[in-house]
């Protein structure tokens, strides 16, 4: 699993490549929290993330809670149909803003 950070028009984008599971999720949480400090708008780009396990889901929830306490607005972009299904099935999807791609996510966050 790899995370690459970039910035687009004042929005911090974290691109996650690989699986988000019990082995990778804790490190992903640490990396993302460190990298986004000081930003107000964040997009987690999930386009290249093919699998999210229960530990991965919990880390996404954890990030959401952390962002909320820091008044950071955030969204998920490019969530695959399989991962979206898991989120729906587990009831986690209602906790996230999910957009089809980075552009849509940036637009959504700016309009909030």
């Amino acid at each position: 699993m790899e995370i690459v950070f970039s910035e687009h028009n004042g929005v911090s984008v974290a691109r996650i490549t690989g699986d988000l599971d019990g082995n990778t999720a804790p490190a992903a949480e640490t990396k993302i929290l460190e990298a986004v400090t000081g930003h107000e708008l964040i997009v987690l780009d999930m386009t290249e993330c093919g699998y999210v396990s229960s530990a991965g889901l919990r880390v996404l929830l954890m990030l959401g809670k952390q962002f909320k306490t820091q008044n950071i607005r955030w969204a998920l972009a490019g969530v695959s149909a399989e991962v979206a299904d898991v989120m729906d099935m587990t009831g986690f999807s209602s906790f996230f803003i999910m957009c089809p791609d980075i552009a849509a996510a940036m637009q959504t966050l700016k309009e909030q």
């Binding site: 599971d21 019990g22 396990s53 530990a55 809670k65 009831g91 209602s94």
Partner: protein, 615 residues
Amino acid sequence: MNKCANMGFEFSDTIAGYVSDPVPADRSFKLTTRDGRVFAVKLADSCFAQIARNLDEPYMDCTGTIFEHTTDDRYLFAYGTFYPQDGDHVFEAQSLVFPGKSAANFRFEEPDWWIKQARSICDFFLRSQFRTHDKDSIDYSNYRTQLGLSGAQNKTMRQETDTISRMVYGMASAFLLTGEDIYLEVAEQGSVYLRERMRFYDTDEKIVYWYHGIDPVPGAPDHKVFASEFGDDYFAIPMYEQIYALAGPTQTYRITGDPAIMNDISLTMELFERFFLDKEQGGYFSHIDPVTLNPLSDELGNNKGRKNWNSVGDHAPAYLINLYLATGDPKHLEMLTYCADCICKYFPDYEKSPFVQERFFADWSHDKSWGWQQNRAVIGHNLKIAWNLMRINSLAPKDTYVELARKIGDIMPDYGMDRQRSGWYDVMERELRTGEEHHRFVWHDRKAWWQQEQAILAYQILYGLLGEEEYLKLARESAAFYNAFFLDHDDGAVYFNTLANGLPYLMGTERMKGSHSMSAYHSVELAYLSAVYINLLHTGKPLDLYFKPVPDGFPDGILRVCPDMLPLERVTLTEVEVDGKPWTDFDAERLTVKLPDCTERPKIRVRLISKKPQK
């Protein structure tokens, strides 16, 4: 202070007591309450009388023969009006309820009283939830947690995990008692529905936890309600909900041995042992953070690092005793004694209060400021400790269990029981404030159905196991109140609450038959255990139980049929039938049956009898 003289107005109330000095010509008798106060009772001209009846029985009028029934020592309930007279009051009864047909007769001690009651309550839930009595037409998408007084569903779609599980418990228990397939069908389908719709299997941690509930959306995925939405537990995973999620499936497992249910139980217990157990200071935490699974997360607010009655004590009655009965696995008995030891060590607080302490910080120091509980006692929790310690003591005896159970059983009538009208109160202040002589009701003096259950079982079980007459008297007075006033003969099942005088209280959520807490659980648990303890340890009547194991379900083909954690020397197994034919491969003393090799599911009937009844 208000002087008694200021009570010079009419008011109506109930007196529960024992008859003496009946004078038929004067239409009067005396009635002595539990605490020894004597009332002169005059029958109003219009007074009518009935003998207590079970659900589904017709009204049993005895107005014309009142004085054949009001004989010395007869226990009864008299409802009437106190009229001011000569600086005092006279009492004129307008109605009487006799719990039995003679002074020595209590109808709820008839061998099939509680079995019929369990059947009737479950039939009510079949009608209300599924609108059918046909086992092929059960559809859990029709289930709704909320039911009105008549059993009607309202517009609320919510299906709470725990209320399905509670109903499944009731249905499984009704099958154990009656052998009627419809109840088992509902229990088994419910167990599958819980697994498929309410269960979260954490593939990383290899644990299971259960959603608070779901909102089914026709034609779309369910809306899952991940963490609790109740104010007490908001956005946390409360141990209470996880424990009760296992109640129904575990009771079903006793009958079927279905390995899929055992898998759910085992993975949920992994959650308890790895995330709720306080490995350093003992006991189980009451809540964990749903994201981190951490009981010490700051996100939990006032539930951070807390322990309570439910998280430590509710394992035993809700699922753990039944799991041990089904498996005989020593590790479950070990967990039972672990929880019982925690209760005996940390809950008593008798230097300060007649009630146990129910809430704790992680180090077991007393939490007296939590939410609604503050420094308050739930009467039913005290009594529930008593009957469950006695059950555990039957197979893992310890003096401390009996001592605390006795202490609770002996002290509670003075503080939690209504000694004027019988029945048991709800929530009370644990300590007296300056100038007070009586512990205060926190909200009201109403009586909840589940609190009555705790008292009835506490004293039935204390009597069944210890044989002391005072416990029998308390069991009878408590069961008499419940059976006189809680059974809804019009719409079915039992009322949530009555007023102190026994009249049903039908306002707001207490008007409901289905709610967060009310499904077919407490009422059928009471019926099941009453049938067991009254028949086997008290009156010495045989008890039949039914099982329907799946092929290759129970390990080694051994079916365990002990109906509760009874002392094994008190009960024996005398008959076994497999699909209606006698079966001889059983152990009469260990209460086990060697199952036949078959590919179809056999129906097993066993007959248990008491070796040493109290009567």
